[in-house]
């Protein structure tokens, strides 16, 4: 008797799509695609208290920004008042004036503007100073942000953000002026980005809160 060739019955796979969909939905739910964003900072190295040396920084090179426990802001010699938007505008304007030693901080009242050191920042020398030899850099300026024990974190971040914004505004202006590009690490070449960072070096000091 000839054996009848039997066809193996195929598995019904019509539900495997549903199965896969279920898994898919599970992964969709547990996935967090959003990458974390934040204001990146570098803390100063820890120095044991008996080894602390007072760094000599000339007074004209420091811009003190202070926030007290009532969230009132003192920047240089002036109070910053008004609504949050108004405050932000003032903070940014003042920081820009300080970094570039213009306006209120022109001449002796602002930080020392020094010539570019070709050894320390060759990119800046090559890309910007070659085009505009009058460029000066406020190398040793410091914006010192001081908070109180009771200052609200939201206010502190608002200040941090505006100070970063001041640098970014300046770098953006310079990027447009010298490279006709936006200040964006993806658009600029590495050397160009380095040159802009050297032109406006970010120097925000994270001073300790006063108790």
């Amino acid at each position: 008797m000839a054996k009848k060739k039997r066809k193996a019955p195929s598995i019904n796979s019509s539900s495997s799509a549903d199965l896969a969909f279920t898994l898919l939905i599970f992964f969709l739910v547990v996935t967090s695609m959003d990458t974390d964003e934040g204001l990146a900072r570098l803390l100063p190295r820890w120095v044991p208290e008996d080894q602390i040396q007072d760094q000599e920084i000339k007074k004209r090179n420091i811009l003190n920004v202070m926030v007290n426990k009532d969230n009132a802001i003192l920047m240089g010699d002036d109070y910053i008042e008004g609504s949050v938007e108004k405050q932000n505008e003032q903070i940014r304007k003042k920081a820009i004036e300080f970094i570039t030693a213009t306006g209120q901080f022109a001449g002796d009242r602002g930080p020392e503007m020094k010539e570019v050191d070709p050894e320390k920042s060759p990119e800046l020398m090559k890309l910007i100073v070659a085009k505009d030899p009058t460029v000066r850099v406020a190398k040793s300026h410091v914006i010192s942000l001081q908070s109180d024990y009771g200052t609200s974190y939201e206010k502190y971040i608002q200040l941090q953000n505006e100070l970063v914004a001041a640098y970014n505004t300046l770098r953006q202006e310079a990027a447009q002026k010298y490279f006709q590009k936006d200040y964006d690490e993806e658009v600029l070449s590495q050397d160009e980005a380095k040159a802009l960072k050297d032109l406006y070096p970010m120097n925000i000091s994270e001073a300790n809160a006063k108790y």
């Binding site: 796979s13 199965l19 896969a20 990146a40 900072r41 803390l43 190295r45 300790n208």
Partner: protein, 138 residues
Amino acid sequence: MPELNTSSLPDLVFSILFFFMCVTHMREDTPIVKVNTPRADQVTKLENKSLVTTVLIGKPRDTRRGSEDLIQFNDDFLDMKNVQATMEAARESMKEADRPKMQISMKIDRNCKMGIVTELKQELRKAQCLKISYAAKK
């Protein structure tokens, strides 16, 4: 009317599934403190997830723990005096090449006071964790 051939649908769905499995990293520790990060428009993205250690500060969700701001690290509350040791241990557990690149992301509630934040920053300095990031929303 001819029926639409759906035999390749599972393959299709599976490929999407694999995509999601690859890009997914499971939502990490469940927050036990309430954190609503402040707004800032100058934020930058954190480079590499595997280099980032997250610390949270906020009021505990469990009201029995009181209403003082507390630090959370890896599913548990972290005492200020243990910060240094914990952070050093966290760095030890990283790949040796990655250790100097370690970054601390501080997710801090907007209503926190600066006191605890400053103290934490001091402890991080003692632990040689100098790269930090204040988490904020756009």
